[in-house]
């Protein structure tokens, strides 16, 4: 199992692949079953955003380390329209009607580290990491 993997996102089938690969990679670090599901769900959310708003993009899955901590990092990149109001997008519009909009605050809750860089007209990059405690 390599420590780095790139998954091109062009169709829904890739979304399923991304979840699977993410789960596989994370499981080599012995995350709990619950944590694996959180990771797979976060991957699903950001990948769906790519498909919905940009049409295509890519995912970089990586095993990372910081000091003695081991973790998995996911970088979701697209060259889509970008997010005009990033601040609002990151607000917890926590809705019981099923997570509207980009679902960014939700994905943030699933992971330990979460960062979004976006430029209108250029694209969006979401970087998220989960550490094995």
């Amino acid at each position: 199992m390599s420590s780095e993997l790139n998954v091109p996102i062009r169709s829904e089938a890739d979304l399923v692949t991304a979840r699977l690969r993410g789960r596989e990679m994370a499981s080599t670090l012995h995350f709990s079953s619950s944590e694996l599901t959180l990771i797979a769900t976060a991957i699903s959310e950001v990948t769906r955003n790519i498909l919905s708003y940009a049409g295509s993009g890519e995912l970089d899955l990586r095993l990372v380390r910081q000091g003695q901590k081991l973790g998995v990092s996911i970088i979701a990149r697209d060259r889509g329209p970008g997010i005009p109001d990033l601040f609002s997008a990151m607000q917890d519009g926590y809705s019981t009607s099923g997570g509207l909009g980009l679902g960014l605050p939700g994905s943030k809750r699933l992971m330990d580290e979460f960062d979004v860089a976006s430029e209108v007209g250029k694209g969006t990059t979401v970087t998220m990491t989960k550490w094995k405690m």
Binding site: S32, L63, V64, R65, T127
Partner: protein
């Protein structure tokens, strides 16, 4: 994000950290050259050094105990000789680091105390110093130079040794914390379909997550339809904890189980109202007894006291 180094299989300590340590010790390529330069001398002294070293160890009860078995002693002496020789073979790279860490782990695993470990290093350095003074009688500066470089490398090794001991301690502590957490939150099956989760003490995010996970798995394995979460033993509840409780209730509902939170003290209730928790989303009762009665009612039980039988017997 820049600090995150992509994981390589042979780097228990990342390359960046190794570089930093060598820099701090001022261990440079010159030192590497100096040490490589005395490799021949080292080979000559290896056997007598190792014999002296173990004679020292064996003369103390504490360290002798570790090498009581003659086969083990022979093996360890061989390994120690290799260790000694390795110090002057240059190439102190990630592979070197990995090897040193492995040795440290072995010592830690057999229970060799750190003080003995450092005592051994000290004896070792002094023994080498003696040999160097002999070898470079005519040119003492050379002896100093070699000893200087060797000391840096030895301290580098000692730092790696400490790493392994600390890492092992931390793993033990984590394991114990885990065990304590599991012990302190049993999920109890009161009746078919009725689970009770008594929470005692303060809850942090990690504990809350584990409680929820345990509860949800219990709901599945016990086919629970009602869950009573008792918080009588929880002294205080902040926003995070209140949210965790709500999330737990909602997650249990997704699995078809209704939750009743019992034992909410008046001030906790106030906190939750102030925090804007929609108490319509969760069913709460004042105490555990009410909680269980409510749960039993929901499951269709009626609890009847045996008054009739008692009065007949007592008569």
């Amino acid at each position: 994000m820049a600090d995150h180094e992509t994981l390589l299989p042979e780097s228990p300590i990342p390359g960046e950290e190794v570089r930093r340590r060598k820099e701090f010790l001022e261990f440079t390529d010159d030192d590497v050259a100096v040490l490589e330069g005395v490799n021949e001398v080292a080979i000559r002294y290896a056997d007598s050094m190792i014999d002296d070293f173990y004679r020292h160890l064996m003369s103390f009860d504490e360290t002798r105990a570790f090498f009581a078995d003659p086969a083990l002693l022979k093996h360890v002496k061989e390994m120690q000789k290799n260790y000694f020789m390795r110090l002057t073979q240059g190439n102190y790279d990630q592979v070197y680091v990995a090897e040193r860490i492995k040795i440290g782990q072995i010592h830690e695993r057999i229970g060799l105390p750190l003080k003995s470990y450092f005592g051994m290093y000290c004896y070792y350095l002094r023994a080498v110093l003696g040999r160097l003074q002999e070898e470079y009688k005519e040119t003492p500066e050379q002896a100093f130079s070699v000893f200087n470089s060797l000391m840096k490398l030895t301290f580098f090794d000692m730092e790696l040794a400490i790493d392994t001991y600390v890492e092992s301690r931390e793993r033990t502590i984590k394991g114990q914390e885990e065990a304590i957490r599991e012990l302190s939150t049993p999920v109890l099956l009161l009746r078919p379909g009725l689970l009770l989760l008594p929470i005692i003490g303060l809850i942090d995010t990690l504990r809350a997550r584990q409680l929820t996970e345990q509860l949800l798995r219990s709901v599945r394995s016990n086919r629970a339809r009602v869950v009573v979460i008792d918080v009588t033993g929880v002294p205080s509840v902040d926003t995070k904890v209140a949210n965790h409780l709500v999330q737990t209730v909602e997650a249990a509902r997704l699995m078809g189980a209704v939750s009743i939170i019992s034992g909410i003290a008046p001030d906790i209730a106030q906190t939750m109202v102030r925090l804007g928790i929609d108490l319509r989303r969760i069913r709460t009762v004042g105490d555990l007894q009410s909680g269980i009665e409510e749960a039993e009612r929901q499951l269709g039980y009626t609890v009847v006291k045996n008054d009739v039988a008692e009065s007949e017997d007592g008569k």
